[in-house]
Symmetry: C2
Subunit: 403 residues, 2 copies
């Protein structure tokens, strides 16, 4: 369980397979984000139909509403969402540090006010791990201290030191939860707690641990701090995967890519690498070229709801008047329901008329675009054409400014 | 084409089959409403999956946006909506008469201001028929003068007289359009006008006329005026179907049912009867019991977006706190994606979190509920158990006040 097999490489790019309790994920892989336990405007069937095999859910949001205990009573996160495939939960770190004026950070954890009702809440390394354990995701993320992309060296050092200290606490709590589950396992467990002490109603694919804890490399845009963060993480345990956090948070794209390039050679080759919060097509391809195996972002659904669609010829704004009488598909190269059923003219009408179906159809296409883009990258890595493919893809993507 | 076969009756209730250019519709039948060319929050695939075989679209709305010529350029209404099955278009009469202060009625037609941009627009019997012809629906409705449910006898008489005079003009314009199409048919027709002069890109099922014009019986809640309206209509032509309009517009439910009962014996038995604007479960069953074959309403989608779901035990408000930890389905007797995939607790969460998927899932269920209700009524009519079935259904539906 949690084994990662690298099947092919091309330059720094990798094609792999990651075995998770609820299924196998082929990498490179784009993961759609279901912030509140639903990928906005899409159903689980939609996601299956467009080839999604793993989705994210957000600990901060589910902790506040409906609460992890409610999710557990409803059968765990997989049954709750109607998604029997792998799920990764973010730790909530990114969200609580985004609350700015509403939070107070201490060594113990983060006190914050709920954005929903203003109530005082608290997340710590231990609580973040407990919440994710109760939710029952396949992949839990360590609780990290996230800083803005332009943060000073001092702030970056401070945050990475705290993130490392918190990682040790996350690991200890995670180990305890696992031991408690194992000791309970032979006995009859009533109610929702039926699966290794965790309420994943659909059950894991095989025996063994049903969740893994993944640490997050911090250190801002400072290469030596990133290296120090990685060394600290590797010194703290043997991890099934490693995540790169604190990128795509305001720094330049060049800085993002430089950070990935500096980390690439020193990351363990046999572990999947997850770049957090990246999901524009050119960034996904650039990340894959630099050895990233998994990425996630709300961009495809958020852009879709705004009427922007990804295509190989660059983004298309479907609200533009030039699409009004256009009987052609949104993206002639795409196999999704949106592109095979509807015209650009109809999609534009849906946005002009503020119809809900428009939000869904463009979200569906954009997620499909990124999943297919990852699959095309994978095929190119496997057959040794990735460098040329990615160069040509990027040249075409950036060639014309569509509107 | 447009043949209607009554296969069974039970009391006044009828089970039939109506052959339309884009498919056969089994009656009694509930028709979901796609006001702006989309059944709100649902896709054509959703509608097919839940057994919808005919949908409505709205002439007033499509006339204003995107305009019928744009729909024609995009391949006609069927291709525009991605819906290859039958479509009925309302004439726009109901909408323009609802505009109240924004409209001026004359014998020629109705001048009104667009609710979108305030521009001055005009619909007349001829224009309403032309717009529907250009859209390419299977069933076009005559342009009628609609009055409120509590209208005086004088107002009802005036409106029905005008509706009859307008019907003659609708019929003449419709006949001219048909003749023009036939005379053009042998020659090569360019562009979108490829199907009997009409742009239905998916093409009709068979040769013959591809659209029928249906008159609307008016007369308010006055039985003698309804009879006069029907006699005038039957005197004006041979119609494939007859619609009952001007009900469900503010009058009592008893008055609606009395009107249907008074019309029943004098309506031609061999023609389908369409009751406009009725779509709450108890009204649908009551209408079927009184000989109605087709009904439409926005109720299932509008109620769904408000978190109200139809079940055999009465409406359920999914926002209610009692559903928070409920792992059971919304409606245990339902076979739709919503009820077979998700718990009440999850659906409540979607509404609490204001997630788009909630709007869709409850709309899907409610439309499925009415389609299944019509199919259950049909089966009961065929096997002779309709009276008992409908009595038991109504008793259970009204037994408890759910929340």
């Amino acid at each position: 369980m949690f084994e990662f097999a690298v099947e092919a490489t091309h330059g720094a790019a990798r094609a792999g397979r990651w075995t998770l309790p609820h299924g196998v994920v082929e990498t490179p892989c784009f993961m759609p984000v279901g912030t509140q336990g639903t990928v906005r405007a899409l159903s689980p069937r939609d996601l299956e139909a467009i080839g999604a095999r793993i989705v994210l859910a957000n600990t901060y949001h589910l902790f506040l509403r409906p609460g992890e205990e409610t999710v557990a009573k409803l059968g765990g996160l997989h049954r709750f969402m109607g998604w029997p495939h792998p799920i990764l939960t973010d730790s909530g770190g990114f969200q609580v540090f985004s609350l700015e004026s509403l939070r107070r950070v201490s060594e113990e954890g983060v006190e914050f006010r709920s954005h929903i009702d203003g109530s005082a809440r608290f997340l710590s390394p231990e609580r973040a791990v407990e919440v994710q354990w109760t939710l029952g995701s396949d992949i839990a993320m360590a609780f990290d201290h996230v800083i803005p992309g332009q943060a000073s060296r001092e702030a970056a050092q401070d945050a990475l030191d705290r993130t490392l200290r918190w990682l040790v606490r996350c690991k200890e709590r995670f180990a305890t939860l696992g031991q408690e589950a194992v000791s309970r396992q032979p006995s009859a467990i009533s109610g929702a707690l039926s699966d290794c002490g965790r309420p994943t109603a659909d059950g894991p694919l095989a025996d063994g641990p049903s969740q893994t804890l993944v640490p997050i490399i911090q250190g801002g845009t400072y290469a030596d701090l990133r290296r120090a963060s990685l060394e600290g993480i590797l010194g703290a345990g043997d991890w099934d995967a490693l995540a790169v956090g604190g990128l795509s948070v305001g720094e330049s794209k060049a800085a993002t890519f430089e950070t990935l390039e500096s980390l690439g050679p020193i990351l363990p080759a046999g572990r999947p690498r997850y770049l957090m919060g990246v999901g524009f097509p050119e960034d996904v391809v650039g990340a894959i070229a630099r050895g990233v195996d998994l990425a996630d972002c709300v961009a495809p659904t958020r852009m879709g709801r705004n009427g922007a669609a990804f295509t190989d010829d660059g983004p298309v704004n479907i609200r533009n008047a030039r699409h009004r009488d256009d009987p052609g598909p949104l993206d002639p190269g795409c196999d999704c329901e949106t592109c095979t059923t509807f015209s650009r003219g109809y999609l534009r009408h849906l946005f002009a008329a503020e119809e809900l179906l428009g939000l869904r159809l463009l979200s569906l296409h954009n997620v499909r675009y990124l999943i297919r883009l990852s699959a095309r990258a994978r095929a190119a890595i496997v057959d040794g054409s990735f460098e040329g493919w990615s160069r040509e893809w990027l040249a075409r993507y950036q060639a014309k400014e569509q509107a």
